[in-house]
């Protein structure tokens, strides 16, 4: 099915972007250290670039790359109940999340667009552009949970998690 192929293709590209963001963060750190200590010439934009990539990495990853079973959740109950109850739970939390994210979207949009009045210290990137990732993130979350809701209503069973995929960094 071509639609699924297109989806797969886009998902791979989203993964590419995520990996590149981490590489850029890493290289910016290297540049920062090298410039400061070996060339005795500090450059401020590197630390700015590292925090930008960090912000984008998290929100981009959470919006377009993370699968449901990779997110950190409390699954003592979710993991233990049968598929029917899990479906019901999915329906409830999806509805609540959708209502809250949709309802607050205009206020969030208002904040992000307001930030055009400021720019970053070194690279002079306007903050509305920099922070626009949150708008994509919130929109992607809305689409994802609408899809989960639809699936749960249509009696698709939410997958149980693989405990080795414990999404924690501890």
């Amino acid at each position: 099915m071509p639609l699924a192929r297109i989806g797969q293709f886009l998902y791979r590209r989203a993964e590419n972007v995520l990996a590149i963001l981490l590489v850029v963060m890493f290289l910016a750190f290297m540049a920062q250290i090298i410039f400061r200590y070996f060339l005795n010439f500090p450059i401020g934009w590197t630390s700015e670039l590292t925090v930008i990539t960090w912000l984008w990495l998290v929100l981009w990853g959470a919006a377009f790359v993370l699968r449901e079973d990779e997110e950190i959740r409390f699954d003592l109950i979710y993991g233990a109940v049968g598929p029917g109850v899990r479906r019901a739970m999915t329906i409830v939390f999806s509805v609540v999340l959708l209502v809250i994210y949709l309802f607050s979207y205009p206020a969030v949009l208002d904040y992000v667009t307001f930030m055009k009045v400021q720019a970053t210290a070194y690279m002079k990137i306007r903050f509305d552009l920099l922070f626009s990732i949150y708008l994509f993130f919130a929109a992607a979350v809305i689409v994802r949970y609408a899809w989960l809701l639809w699936g749960a209503i249509r009696s698709r069973n939410p997958r149980r998690r693989d405990p080795e995929h414990a999404g924690s960094s501890l």
Partner: protein, 306 residues
């Protein structure tokens, strides 16, 4: 009549300084002086809004009062960058005189018109002095050549480091002590109270009293909140701010004097360099730089003349 909690006017204030800071005591005095009409809520240590984000919070109505750095003003009003430059104000008195002058009123009016924020007054927190872990005697900017001087992050700060003749290094404030100890940096520039708080003096050998920047923030109130007040309340708020600021400035000056003798007791060398040579060098560099292109015509001269 005593207003009930519901009728009181809420004033949320957010600042980066800690609850133990002189300026927190200043705000306490302010809150006491404005009286029963108000419900003052102070949040210190940057817990409510992060450093540098308070101005937008004021503009968007998420905060009524703040202690805003002039650098944050200049981020939105380029002309304000003149008030962030080094060797502009000579001391706390000169700073206060400026904000009471016509030139000062022009600048604060700009903030009111463009940002919707009213400035109640400048809160002085000390003059920045260069502290070094080197033995080398400093008298002119030329002596600072090659000195790795830690400056806060951002273009303007790094430029200030260069204007002092040093080699500026951006480094997080919390890392400065270790940086001085290990020699990753040769020095830092902060007001004496910070040097004492952070115990930098333990890992420094000398303090060059460059007084290159008269450090101040601006006690502000959002215009929305201000305009809701009756003229009597406005007068009360302004008077409370004036006297709290005056008290705080005097406290800071007293503290700086005490600390100067304390640092000497700790075995540090404190001395005045050729400040005129530094001023000439810095003002020249500023005026030649891109930074000065947005400055109001003649503002530096008007301030110098005050």
């Amino acid at each position: 009549t005593v207003a009930t909690a519901q009728e009181k006017i809420g004033l949320r204030f957010s600042a980066v300084f800690s609850e133990q800071d002189i300026r927190a005591e200043m705000m306490k005095r302010f809150a006491e002086a404005i009286g029963e009409d108000f419900d003052y809520q102070g949040y210190y240590g940057g817990t409510l809004f992060k450093q540098g984000t308070e101005l937008v919070a004021l503009q968007r109505g998420n905060l009524e009062m703040g202690n805003i750095a002039p650098q944050d003003m200049s981020n939105q009003i380029p002309a304000w960058s003149v008030l962030t430059s080094a060797y502009l104000f000579r001391d706390a008195d000169h700073l206060r005189t400026f904000f009471e002058s016509d030139a000062g009123k022009e600048m604060t009016q700009m903030v009111e018109d463009q940002l919707g924020v009213k400035i109640l007054g400048p809160t002085y927190f000390g003059s920045r002095q260069v502290g070094l872990n080197l033995d080398k005697k400093i008298s002119t900017p030329a002596d600072m050549a090659g000195v790795k001087l830690r400056m806060p992050g951002g273009d303007a700060w790094q430029f200030l480091g260069s204007a002092l003749g040093a080699n500026p290094v951006p480094m997080a404030y919390a890392e400065v002590y270790t940086g001085l100890q290990t020699g990753a940096i040769d020095g830092q520039d902060n007001p004496l109270p910070n040097v004492q708080n952070m115990k930098f003096y333990e890992v420094m050998k000398q303090i060059v009293l460059t007084s290159h920047l008269v450090g101040y923030d601006l006690l502000t109130i959002s215009l929305d909140a201000w305009n809701k007040l009756t003229p009597e309340q406005q007068e009360k708020v302004q008077a409370a701010a004036d006297s709290a600021i005056e008290w705080s400035t005097a406290e800071h000056l007293k503290r700086e004097e005490e600390l100067a003798s304390f640092m000497k007791e700790q075995g540090l060398e404190l001395y005045k360099p050729d400040v005129d040579a530094f001023r000439a060098h810095a003002q020249k560099m500023y005026l030649e730089s891109d930074l000065a292109k947005d400055w109001p015509d003649g503002m530096v001269d008007r301030i110098n003349a005050l």
